[in-house]
Each structure stands twice: as C-alpha cells, then as structure tokens.
C-alpha cells in the first residue's frame, strides 16, 4: 500500500526529529561563561598559531571561566557581528574587530563596553591603542598591528643584480628591469578590490605627505586635489606599463600570494600580515624581505610615514558588563608576551616582545622607525564610503579611464557623507 508506506515514513521522520531535539537540549552551567567570536580556527595551521595558543592556555590558566571561542572566518565574523549589533541580541562578550570607524559605529550605538580604565595598565604601542579607541575611550586590545610595506624577492633581485629601491624612480627602474627579464614587477590581486588600496595610499602620501589625506578627511581639502590626482596618474601609468602583469584585474589576492611564493613576481605592496606565510618554507622557497615604501624626492611624504591597521584586535560588548573581571583577564591574556610569542609572523604591539622571524623583524623595524602612522583609509573613513573608495581605485585599472573624473565622483560621495570641502 502506498499510503501505509507514507504514514510509516512520516512517523519515522517525526521520531527522528524528536530524538534529535532531546539530544541537543543544552545543559545547565555554573562557571562564568565567556563567549568570544573570532576569525581564525584554533587549529594547527601556522597562520592560526596565535589564536590556538590563546584558546588552549587561557582555559588551562583560568579554570573558573568557561571560554567558548567560535571561529567564523573572514566575511563570516563581520557579517555575524553586524547582524547581532543591529538587533542587539545574542551579542558575544568579546569579538574580533579591526577597530577604527567600524568599531566606532558600534561604540556610538552604545553596543560596546568601555574598558578605558581597566586596560590602562596593559603595555601596548600607541598605534594599536589608538586603533582600539574611539572618541577617547578604549574598548579593547590589539595584540598585533599590521603595517603596509613592500615585500621584495631578495633572491631574485640578487640574481638580476637589482637593489632594493629607495625612491619611486628607482622602483620604476627596477620594475622595468624585472619586466624586461620576464618577471611581473608587482603582485597585487585587484580582483578582490581591497588589495589595490595599499599602493595608492602610499603614492598619495609620497606626493602630498601625511596632510594630504588628513586634510581631505577633515574636509580642508578635496579628494580630487593635486596629490590624489598625481598619485592616481602614477598608478595608472604603472598599470599601463604592465607592472601588475597582463591581467591585473583577473588575479585575486590569493593568486598574488602564489606569484610571490613561486618567484614570478618581484615585489608585493601589502600588509605585514603576510609575514607568517612569506617566511614559511612550506609556503614559499623564495627569500623575501620587507621594506618601507620608497620615497619621492621633492614630494612631501617621508620614509617614516607608515600606513597601518589592526592586525588582530578584540573588543568587548555591553553584555559583558557584569563579568568585567573575566573580560579583562582575557584581554590581558591576549596581550601576554608568552602567548604572543607563539605567533610566527605578525608584528606584536607589546613593547619588548622580540619578533621570531627575520621577516617579522624587518617589518617591526620599519614600524619602530615610523614617526607617523596613518590608519588604512578604509578603517579610517566612515564605513559609508569604503566600498566606493575601493571601486574608485579599481577604475584606474580600466583602459582609458579618466582618473580625475573618478576622483571627482568620489569627492561627491564624500561630500554627501562628510560635508563639503574647502577648495
């Protein structure tokens, strides 16, 4: 009978559902429970070494706290935090954040826990502290801070008799020689859009100095003022000369990493978060170095002007208000030099912690010599215009694009959000 079969199937399904429902009912709990949402899985991958150390040692040292660490991956963590912040329900106690204006938005909406006093005693670099603060209040810690610079394939440079460029002109000469020798001068990964920003930030700085962006941000200048246009024209010139390969828009950030790892590309302008991979013999057999972005003689930028952003940072939310003690213990644990020592590549913000690899040491030196740190523009500008910012830079890559026009359009958007600029 057809009907008999159906009835049986439905009964079996219902029974299964009920059994599973009972199996998943949560048990009671007595210890303080700390929910932490992060990006990286605490597994054995070298890039996840730090978070693995954090999770395992914290639980061992703090038996009275039950740590629930949930790894959500990159778009995952941002989307999930966004939705819980919007609905203000099921917030975690602590979440991973890149600080800056995004965290500031959450702070403005009253979703975060002010830890200014509690975190005062934790030693940290000024830049890392500033990144985790908003309007004078500190909401978390950033154990690692990333800066943008130039990864150089030193082995390749040596075999071609090239020296690491210190001026933009030298950089172009090096790029021309690499191109002539059949290499791709720069790895980029513009298909993912955001990787194209680092080079542009530095070019603007080298032409117009720190004040170029600062003025535009404070609306004392426009985003299509001279330094922005000059930098864009230079960028466009590099694209047209083939410095980013024949298919700059087709390559993703992952492809760019492979180009560096296999010695196809000579340089990569990006954040120091690549240190772990670029110094991992399992990932690349090339000898890579990290150098500051070259100088433009006659330009306003200085070699000690550095672009940077939070590499790994955590902030607390208001739901943790009644377990501040546990939160602060976790934050201190995040900044514990012993825990930080597990990280193979990122630049620690805790003073005195020695970088474990040569590459990290090189990046840390660049950072140590920095006299001024500009936050990554997309962390520093209001979130409303970060997507248009990246899209604007991508326009420089399209054949025959009018960069002035593109920048003027971006300025229009900026005016809408940040107010009109003085001419």
């Amino acid at each position: 009978m057809v009907q008999g079969k159906w009835t049986r199937l439905v009964v079996v399904l219902v029974a299964l559902v009920l059994v599973a429902a009972m199996a998943t009912t949560a048990g009671a709990q007595s210890r303080v429970r700390l929910t932490v949402w992060g990006r990286d899985l605490p597994d054995d991958d070298p890039a996840h070494a730090y978070i693995r150390e954090v999770v395992t040692t914290f639980q061992a040292k703090n038996p009275d706290i039950e740590l629930e660490y949930i790894a959500l991956g990159d778009p995952g963590i941002q989307d999930k935090v966004k939705v819980s912040m919007a609905t203000n329900t099921d917030l975690p106690d602590i979440f991973q954040t890149w600080g800056g204006s995004t965290m500031g938005g959450y702070a403005d909406a009253g979703r975060l826990l002010d830890l200014t006093e509690e975190l005062e005693s934790i030693p940290t670099s000024a830049a890392a502290k500033a990144a985790m603060s908003w309007k004078g209040k500190t909401y978390g810690v950033a154990p690692f801070f990333a800066i943008a610079g130039v990864y150089v394939n030193e082995g390749l440079f040596e075999s071609l008799g090239l020296t690491v460029p210190t001026t933009l002109q030298e950089m172009e000469e090096v790029a021309d020689k690499l191109l002539a020798a059949g290499y791709q001068p720069f790895a980029l990964g513009a298909r993912d859009k955001w990787p194209a920003l680092a080079t542009y930030m530095y070019l603007v700085n080298r032409y117009g100095g720190m004040e170029a962006f600062a003025d535009a941000q404070a609306r004392r200048a426009r985003f299509d003022s001279e330094p922005f246009v000059q930098a864009a024209l230079k960028y466009q010139e590099w694209v047209e000369k083939g410095y980013f390969g024949p298919t700059p828009l087709g390559e993703a950030y992952g492809d760019a990493q492979l180009l560096m790892a296999t010695g196809i590309a000579g340089m990569h302008v990006t954040g120091s978060w690549m240190n772990a991979q670029y110094s991992d013999p399992g990932f690349t057999d090339q000898t890579l170095g990290f150098y500051p972005f070259p100088l433009l003689p006659g330009g306003k930028g200085k070699i000690t002007d550095v672009m940077g952003q939070t590499d790994i940072g955590f902030a607390a939310t208001w739901v943790a208000a009644d377990k501040k003690d546990a939160v602060v213990r976790f934050m201190k644990h995040l900044m514990d030099p012993e825990v930080i020592a597990a990280e193979p590549g990122r630049i620690s913000s805790v003073p005195g912690v020695v970088a474990p690899s040569r590459l990290t040491q090189m990046a840390a030196d660049v950072f140590a010599q920095a006299e001024a740190v500009q936050f990554w523009w997309d962390q520093d500008l209001p979130p409303n215009i970060t997507t248009p910012l990246n899209d604007t830079i991508l326009k420089f890559f399209l054949p025959g694009a009018d960069v002035r026009q593109a920048l003027a359009e971006f300025e229009e958007l900026a005016e809408e959000v940040m107010g009109p600029a003085a001419r």
């Binding site: 941002q78 989307d79 966004k82 912040m85 919007a86 203000n88 938005g105 959450y106 403005d108 909406a109 979703r111 513009a190 298909r191 993912d192 859009k193 390969g245 024949p246 298919t247 700059p248 828009l249 087709g250 390559e251 993703a252 492809d255 492979l258 180009l259 979130p383 409303n384 215009i385 970060t386 997507t387 248009p388 899209d391 991508l394 326009k395 890559f397 399209l398 359009e409």
Partner: protein, 304 residues
C-alpha cells in the same frame, strides 16, 4: 481557467470553503509569522535613513531618488535584467533540450546521465565559486594552463574575470553550469507526465521526433516553462553569491548585481535604508514580472 469552467457552480459549498481555508492555513501561517514582518520592515526602512543600528530618520523617497542617480545601481540594474533575459533565452531552451533528449532516448548510456545533470546543483555556492575561479583564473586556471601547454597565445591573453566585457559571461557560464540541473529535472518530470497514447498518436500521424517535440511536447510543457522563466527571472533579480564570490561585482561595475549592492549598502556601508530601498525595487520588479508572465498565459488560454 479550464478548471473553473467545467466545475458546476456551487454557490454555498461551505465544506469546500472550509477545506480550502484549512489547506492554505499552514503555508499562510508560516509566511505570516516569518515573512510579512520582515517584508513590512523592508518597505518601512526604505523610507528611512538608518545605519541599521537602531537610528532611523524619515527621509521620504530620498533613498530611491539617490539610487537611481547612482551609476553603480544603474549598472547593477541593467546587469540583472540582462542576466534574467539571457537565462530565459539560453538556460531554459538548453534545459528543455536535455530534458527532452533524456526522456526520448532511454538507453544504457542516457539512463545514468539523468542523475548526473543535477549534480552541480547540490554544491554550496562557495565551492561552486572556487571551482569557477580555477577554471577562469589567469595563469592558474584550467583554461589558462591548457592554453599555455598548447601554446595558444591568443587564448592565454584572454582575461576571463578581469576583462569588463567578458567577466559577466564567465560568471553566467558558471551559473548555467551550476543551476540548470533543476530546470532539467523539473522539465523531465513534466515531460514524463505526458500520457503515452499522445506520443503513439503523434507517431501514427507520421510526426518525427523533433516535430513531436516542437508541436506536442513543447506546448504541453509551456506552463512549466513559464514557471521556470518566473523562477529564473526572480532568481536573477536577487542574484548575489556567484558574482560576489567570483569578482566582487567588478571589474568596475561589470558584474555587479542588485543583490551585491544591497549587501554592500546594508552590511558594509551601513546604509541600511538604501539597502531596504533596493530590496523593495527587487520585490516590485519580481512582482511585475510574475504577474506579467502569469497574465500572458491567461490571455493565450482565452485565445484557445
């Protein structure tokens, strides 16, 4: 239409009315509980300026006005309409051809194929996109690698994802690969429903198999095909995953969609009101296309 005409009018068929109400209740209940509030919220928020974090300022139709001034939105709008057009023009005939051929020739080879065509539909979009990147990526992609091995330099030069004129088609090809399985299985199920005696009668009339397909099968599955058209048009309007995962909507705005702009406005740029306005545009367009397709069929029905 046919149904209502044949059935004699029973003006006070209370049993029938109660039956209808009971049968509709579960579906309506689910939607009423879980969907109507979010839909209502979408409409309401589209008139607000809001970051999505609780602050709301009434701005009237500003969000809409702002959208239609936006070059990216216009590009996304055109892209999804093109996407909808091409999916109807390319994917549905392809589905019909495969479904009909699979039903027509049942031999040792075609029988196992029935299940295979559906296989790609099963993959989560993150994996589909990963596979697509490895097909189309420059240098590391399958096509680029083959081109290099066989020294086809003209093919090596093609940048499937980075060329603004090509990126749309690369992603469209990937979507065709990933999504047509459903159309094939759905049409197959409908073609199998056609009574055998009709096929026999057609054969007796001397119709060959392709004439039979054109004059008998196609009209008989016209309604399912229209349903497929509605599903692919509405699906195109909401399109998000594949273009976002493959190219982030680039290069330029070449592959951006309303779904991508909605995501960026709502989740990245904190312009929740504008995102809601895009949601409303998608909703209304879907409604217009659906009503149009259903009423087109009604008119045809009257002509017969």
């Amino acid at each position: 239409m046919q149904a209502t005409q044949i059935r004699p009018r029973r003006p006070r068929d209370w049993r029938g009315i109660v039956f209808q109400a009971v049968m509709l209740l579960p579906a309506i209940a689910f939607l009423a509980i879980f969907m109507y509030y979010p839909i209502e919220e979408t409409f309401r928020l589209s008139l607000m300026r809001s970051t999505g974090l609780g602050d709301e300022v009434y701005v009237g139709f500003q969000n809409y006005a702002r959208l239609f001034r936006d070059a990216e939105f216009r590009a996304g709008f055109v892209n999804v309409l093109l996407w909808a057009f091409w999916s109807v023009v390319i994917q549905i005939p392809y589905s019909f051809f495969v479904a009909y051929a699979l039903c027509l020739y049942r031999n040792h080879f075609t029988r196992p194929l029935r299940a295979i065509f559906f296989l790609a539909n099963v993959l989560p979009s993150a994996i589909t996109a990963m596979l697509g990147q490895f097909v189309f990526a420059p240098r590391y992609g399958v096509i680029a690698t083959l081109a290099q091995r066989f020294k086809w330099t003209w093919l090596q030069r093609i940048d499937f994802l980075g060329d603004p004129d090509l990126a749309f088609w690369s992603i469209f090809a990937l979507a065709t690969w990933a999504y047509t399985g459903f159309g094939i299985v759905y049409l197959m199920a409908n073609i199998e429903q056609i009574p055998r005696d009709i096929e026999e009668a057609a054969k007796l009339d001397g119709a060959n198999r392709w004439q039979y397909a054109w004059h008998v099968v196609l009209p008989m599955v016209a309604y399912p095909i229209r349903i497929l058209a509605i599903l692919s048009i509405v699906g195109s309007l909401k399109l998000f995953d594949l273009p976002y995962l493959m190219t982030r909507g680039g290069p330029g705005y070449a592959t951006t969609t309303l779904g991508i702009i909605l995501y960026q406005q709502g989740f990245v740029n904190w312009q929740y009101g504008r995102a809601a306005a895009i949601g409303v545009v998608i909703f209304l367009l879907s409604l217009v296309f659906t009503v149009a397709l259903f009423s087109m069929q009604r008119r045809e029905g009257e002509l017969q």
